[in-house]
C-alpha cells in the first residue's frame, strides 16, 4: 500500500525540478522524469535532462527514422522486398497525395512535406509508448515546425513569382482601378494572414496532442485510484479506449499539418500552367 500511495502522489505531483513559472505536469512520467526523481535528483545532470527533455525525445525519434531509412536503402533492389517495400509504399502514398494537391510541379516539395508528416506522426505516437513522451506536446517544438513551413513557403513565393509578383500577390493581384483602390485594405489583411498561418498550424498541433495526453493522464490516474476500493493487485487500464482515439488523432493531426502546408505551397505557386 505504501508503494501505491507513492505512485498516486507521483502521478499527481509536479516534477521534482520544476523551475518556477512553468505549467503543472500534464503528462505521464517518462524516462527523464523518472531518472530525475530517483537517480539524478537535484544534481546538474538532472537539471540538464529536465531542461532538454523534449530535445532528447525528438532526437531519439529522428535517430529511429534515420536508422530505418538507412536500413531500407542499404541494398536497394529494383524489385523491392521486405523493409524497402514497406518504406516505398509509404513514400509513394505521400507522393501521390501531395502531387494530387499541388499538381505535377509539386514533386520537389515531397521530401520536405513527407519528412514533416513522418516526423510529426512518430512524435505524436511517442506519447503513447511507455517511458516516452510526445515532443509535439510542447509548444516550442510545434512553433519550430511551423516556422520551417512559414519561411520555406515565403522563400518559394519570392523565388517562383519574383519580388514584384510576390508583392502583387500580397496586394490581391489588382487589375482594374477598383481593385487598385482596395489595395490599402487588402495588403494588411494578406500580411496578417501570412503570419496567422504558422500561428494556427503550431497551436492546432500543440493543443490536440496536449489535450489527448492530458486525457490519457487523467484516466491512468483514475485507473490507479480505483485500486483503493477494489483491492486488485494491479490497476485497471481505463485509458485503453482513449489510446485508440489517440492513435487516430495522432494520424489525423500529422495529416492535417502536412495537408495545410501543402495547401500553402499550392496557393503561392503560379497557377494555370498544368497541361490537362
Amino acid at each position: 500500500m505504501q508503494s501505491l500511495n507513492h505512485i498516486v502522489t507521483f502521478l499527481s505531483s509536479e516534477p521534482a525540478h520544476n523551475g518556477g513559472g512553468e505549467e503543472a505536469q500534464h503528462e505521464l512520467p517518462n524516462l527523464v522524469t523518472i531518472l530525475n526523481e530517483y537517480v539524478f535528483g537535484g544534481t546538474s545532470v538532472g537539471e540538464f535532462l529536465h531542461h532538454w527533455e523534449n530535445a532528447i525525445f525528438s532526437l531519439a525519434i529522428v535517430i529511429i527514422l534515420v536508422v530505418v531509412a538507412r536500413f531500407a536503402y542499404r541494398n536497394p533492389q529494383l524489385v523491392p522486398r521486405g523493409l524497402q517495400n514497406g518504406v516505398e509504399l509509404i513514400i509513394e502514398a505521400l507522393e501521390s497525395f501531395i502531387v494530387g494537391v499541388i499538381g505535377p510541379h509539386g514533386r520537389k516539395f515531397v521530401p520536405f512535406l513527407g519528412t514533416l508528416f513522418l516526423y510529426i506522426f512518430c512524435s505524436n505516437l511517442a506519447g503513447l509508448i511507455p517511458l516516452m513522451k510526445a515532443p509535439t506536446a510542447n509548444v516550442n517544438q510545434t512553433i519550430a515546425l511551423a516556422l520551417c513551413v512559414f519561411f520555406y513557403v515565403q522563400f518559394t513565393a519570392v523565388k517562383e513569382n519574383g519580388i514584384v509578383g510576390f508583392v502583387k500577390h500580397l496586394m490581391g493581384e489588382p487589375r482594374s482601378a477598383i481593385q487598385w483602390a482596395f489595395v490599402p485594405l487588402m495588403l494588411p489583411i494578406h500580411i496578417i494572414g501570412e503570419f496567422a498561418k504558422p500561428l494556427s498550424l503550431s497551436v492546432r498541433l500543440f493543443g490536440n496532442v496536449t489535450g489527448e495526453d492530458i486525457l490519457i493522464l487523467i484516466f491512468v490516474g483514475l485507473g490507479v485510484a480505483v485500486l483503493s476500493f477494489t483491492h486488485l493487485p494491479i490497476g485497471i487500464p481505463l485509458q485503453l479506449p482513449f489510446i485508440f482515439l489517440a492513435i487516430l488523432t495522432s494520424f489525423i493531426q500529422a495529416l492535417v499539418f502536412m495537408l495545410l502546408s501543402t495547401v500553402y505551397f499550392a496557393m503561392i505557386l503560379p497557377h494555370g500552367e498544368e497541361d490537362h
Binding site: V203, F206, G207, N208, V256, L259, L260
Partner: protein
Amino acid sequence: MDYQTALAFALPLGVAFAAIGSGLGLGRAVGSAMEAIGRQPEAYAKIQTAMIIGAALIEALTIYALVTVFLLQGKIGS
C-alpha cells in the same frame, strides 16, 4: 467574486461554447461531404481531402479556446 473564481467559471464555459460552435460547423461540413460522396462516389479522394482541410480549420477554433485554458489554468490554483 475575485478573478480566480471568475476564471474557474469562465474557462470551462469558454471551451464548452467553442465546442458547441465547432460541433455545429463540423456536423454541417461532414454531413455535406458524406452527401457529396454518396452522390459521386468516384470523387471520394478529392472530397475527403477538402473535407479534412475544412474540418481542421473549424476545429482549430476550439483548440484556441483549449490553449487559452492551458495558459490561464495556472492562475486558478489556491
